[in-house]
């Protein structure tokens, strides 16, 4: 579990995070959503320690990460896996070498054992015959899956995923979302996903945090988000007229004002 307590972060005069407090629950997909510039990425960078908050605490299982020295931080970081927006695979290494890198650095296992583990995680992310390929030879979706494989190879307790669907088609996005969800449940890890893709929100959002201008504006689940009364959140989710109409229709169905079993073919004719 990750507890974030009153985190503030600014750059010069500009305050990007303004007292954010939230609990990221274990075994769940915790989604941070919000418009561009709302502070999602800075928030995630603060959580993983790439940025140091100006104020506040980030506790991993009760241990205040922000108060630790570099050596102590390393111990927690070795329990963190992260999938970056651009996958961040090492260009000069093959897929196999990329995934094996954390194993080489932090374990003294034999080569055969490491290879076995690499193949296990590759199978877990449903990739075959890519071991000897370089990142440049892979599609965007495959890169993301290799990124996930590298992130989970050391069995992390925490998984951070930054914009998993950026640059992917809806079908591949769905595959990545499902994979993240499955891994979270299977390994009972605390997963934090940074996204503004509403498909992901509805698909995997066990716990959703909506950020607005550096503050936590709303918190809830994917079941609660549709009928939320928060104006800013609704403006963000139902940005297009089409989605607004779809929501109104769903509301009318729920209240019984429209027949849920109506014949759509007849309506269209």
């Amino acid at each position: 579990m990750i507890e974030v307590k009153n985190v503030r972060k600014g750059f010069g005069d500009k305050t990007v995070l303004n007292g954010v407090s939230v609990n990221m629950e274990a075994g769940k997909c915790n989604l941070i959503i919000g418009a561009s510039g709302s502070g999602k990425t800075v928030f995630m960078k603060c959580m993983v320690g790439l940025l140091v908050p100006d104020e506040g605490e980030i506790c991993y299982n009760g241990k205040n990460f922000t108060g630790l020295n570099d050596e102590e931080k390393k111990e927690i970081r070795q329990q963190i896996g992260m999938l970056f927006q651009g996958s961040a695979l090492f260009d000069s290494l093959t897929v196999e070498q990329n995934i094996m890198f954390p194993l080489n650095m932090f374990t003294n296992d034999s080569l055969s054992k490491k290879l076995k583990r690499v193949n296990e995680v590759l199978e877990r992310v449903r990739l075959k015959d890519v071991n000897k390929k370089f990142p440049a030879e892979l599609s965007g979706g495959m890169k993301k899956r290799v990124g996930i494989a590298r992130a989970i190879v050391l069995n992390p307790n925490y998984l951070f995923v930054d914009e998993p669907n950026s640059g992917l088609d809806p079908q591949t996005s769905l595959v990545i979302d499902k994979l993240v969800k499955e891994i979270t449940t299977e390994y009972n890890i605390t997963t934090v996903v940074n996204t503004h893709d509403m498909n992901s929100v509805m698909e995997i959002g066990d716990h959703i945090i909506f950020m607005y201008q550096g503050k936590k504006e709303w918190e809830g689940s994917n079941k609660e988000i549709i009928f939320n009364k928060n104006e800013r959140l609704n403006e963000f989710i139902f940005a297009s007229e089409f989605l607004k109409d779809a929501k109104d229709m769903r509301m009318l169905e729920q209240t019984g004002k429209i027949d849920q079993n109506r014949d759509m073919d007849k309506l269209i004719k």
């Binding site: 993983v48 570099d70 390393k74 963190i80 961040a88 080489n104 932090f106």
Partner: protein
């Protein structure tokens, strides 16, 4: 950013490199890789430059030695001293600042922009130690060796050019080479080589490590790294000559 802020950040980068490696074997592997990249990778250009540098130096010295009082074997002596004192350490290192410096800056810059450095940090790896230190150590190991090779080839190039053009016989050249030889000059050349090796590797590493932006910024930082390294080499060259050649 002011000069002092930049210099402070540069010193912090150097300080941050010294921590216990997460895995000695991986650091050793990286060091060997960098030795190969910097040393073997630059050998070709060093060989070509050194050879022609010595040859041209011999021909031009002979052209200027018009006095009948000065023996022609002095050409070899002048070639030897200029190559050892200045050409091999300084000229070769300025060329290496372009070859090695731009490579280091663009490699680290690309890793920074594509979040590969962040990925390593999140794994719990000290990226300053893992990415920058092996490059500096590799430069400190290989660049003085390249300077020694360069000095040898420069002197040989001078011999070949002066004998082929009929200025000196091989024997006369050898006599000249042994005239008034001072071992201190070799020591001075090596001090320069180690100093320049540190400059060539650490300054581009700084510019690459802290790059922000995209492809354009990587290019800019790479150019800036080479320019600053060259100026730093020339400045250090003057300071070392002023201190050590009194």
């Amino acid at each position: 950013m002011t000069l002092f802020t930049e210099f402070g950040r540069y010193l912090l980068l150097i300080k941050g490199m010294f921590s216990k490696p997460e895995n000695w074997k991986m650091y050793w592997k990286e060091l060997m890789l960098q030795c190969n990249e910097i040393g073997i990778g630059s050998l070709g250009i060093v060989v070509i430059i050194s050879f022609f540098m010595g040859a041209v130096s011999a021909l031009q010295t002979a052209y200027q030695l018009v006095s009948p009082v000065i023996p022609m074997s002095t050409v070899a002596q002048i070639v030897r001293d200029t190559v050892i004192l200045e050409f091999a350490p300084t000229l070769v290192c300025i060329v290496l600042a372009g070859v090695v410096g731009s490579k280091i800056a663009s490699e680290l810059g690309n890793m920074r922009v594509s979040e590969q450095i962040d990925a390593l940090e999140i794994m719990g790896i000290n990226t300053k130690a893992y990415l920058v230190l092996p490059k500096i150590l590799a430069a400190l190991i290989t660049i003085p060796l390249l300077v020694v090779i360069s000095a040898g080839l420069g002197i040989y190039g001078g011999q070949l050019a002066s004998t082929m053009s009929g200025i000196l016989s091989p024997n006369q050249y050898e006599v000249g080479l042994l005239q008034n030889f001072q071992q201190y000059n070799v020591f001075f050349a090596l001090v320069k080589a180690y100093t320049f090796a540190f400059i060539i590797s650490s300054i581009p590493a700084y510019y690459g490590y802290y790059v922000q932006g995209g492809a354009l910024e990587i290019g800019r930082s790479s150019t800036k790294a080479v320019v600053v390294s060259c100026v730093a080499i020339l400045f250090a060259d003057y300071v070392l000559a002023a201190i050590l050649l009194q």
